[in-house]
């Protein structure tokens, strides 16, 4: 596609429910990133995929968070048993994966846990 596509753009869910957020990166991009942007917290790294390498999961805040990337393309971020503190904008980005390559961001998925 023309850019990084994320869905849903907005999601309101009840505390304790599971949510899935989808990211469709730019075609041909081998690197994919998930970030979280919370009010007053700035941008927080969650997870990074690069080609067929094992993902860097060092930023996932708890074992309720997981992500996968199928076929080296689309990625899904799953949050289980959502809590109110999970409310944030979840941003996906992709790049060609080499140093200095431009990193393109999607518009984000706005998650509200009530």
């Amino acid at each position: 596609g023309a850019g990084v596509s994320q869905s849903p753009s907005n999601k309101v869910t009840e505390k304790g429910k599971d949510v899935e957020l989808r990211c469709d990166p730019i075609s041909g991009h081998t690197a994919l990133y998930w970030y979280r942007q919370s009010l007053g917290q700035g941008l927080e790294f969650l997870i990074y995929f690069q080609g067929n390498s094992a993902p860097d999961k060092s930023g996932l805040p708890s074992d309720r968070f997981s992500a996968e990337r199928t076929g080296g393309s689309v990625s899904t971020l799953t949050i289980q048993r959502t809590q109110q503190e999970d409310s944030a904008v979840y941003l996906c980005a992709s790049s060609k994966g080499s140093p200095g390559n431009t990193i393109y961001f999607g518009e984000g998925s706005w998650l509200t846990v009530v």
Binding site: T30, A31, Y33, Y35, G42, L43, F45, Y48, Q50, D56, G59, L91, A93, S95, G97, S98, P99, G100, N101, T102, I103, Y104, F105, G106, E107, G108
Partner: protein
């Protein structure tokens, strides 16, 4: 390890006056540096990037930034602010092949008429 410090959390300028957003970084390796802008309720848009070529980098919308290795700085400037420049700006560093990005805390710019 790498880190980025944006020295001002808020900057207020009058329309038509210069804008300066300060960014300092630390990195064990030669970094790639980026500036992104985020308008309210919008995604992040790349303004410009430095990747070890020219140290003075020109970006979109009249912005430019200068990489100064001796000062470990990558400050963003624009000669004349426009109302549409009101947004939040992020300085970002990346090292090694496609490594995770490290974001500064952001600088929110207010442009007064």
């Amino acid at each position: 390890a790498q880190s980025v410090t944006q020295l001002d959390s808020h900057v207020s300028v009058s329309e038509g006056t210069p804008v300066l957003l300060r960014c300092n970084y630390s990195s064990s390796y030669s970094p790639s540096l980026f500036w992104y802008v985020q308008h309210p309720n919008k995604g992040l848009q790349l303004l410009l990037k430095y990747t070890s070529a020219a140290t003075l980098v020109k970006g979109i919308n009249g912005f430019e930034a200068e990489f100064k290795k001796s000062e470990t700085s990558f400050h963003l400037t624009k000669p004349s602010a426009h109302m549409s420049d009101a947004a939040e700006y992020f300085c970002v560093v990346s090292v090694l092949a496609g490594n995770k990005l490290t974001f500064g805390g952001g600088t929110r710019v207010l442009v007064k008429p």
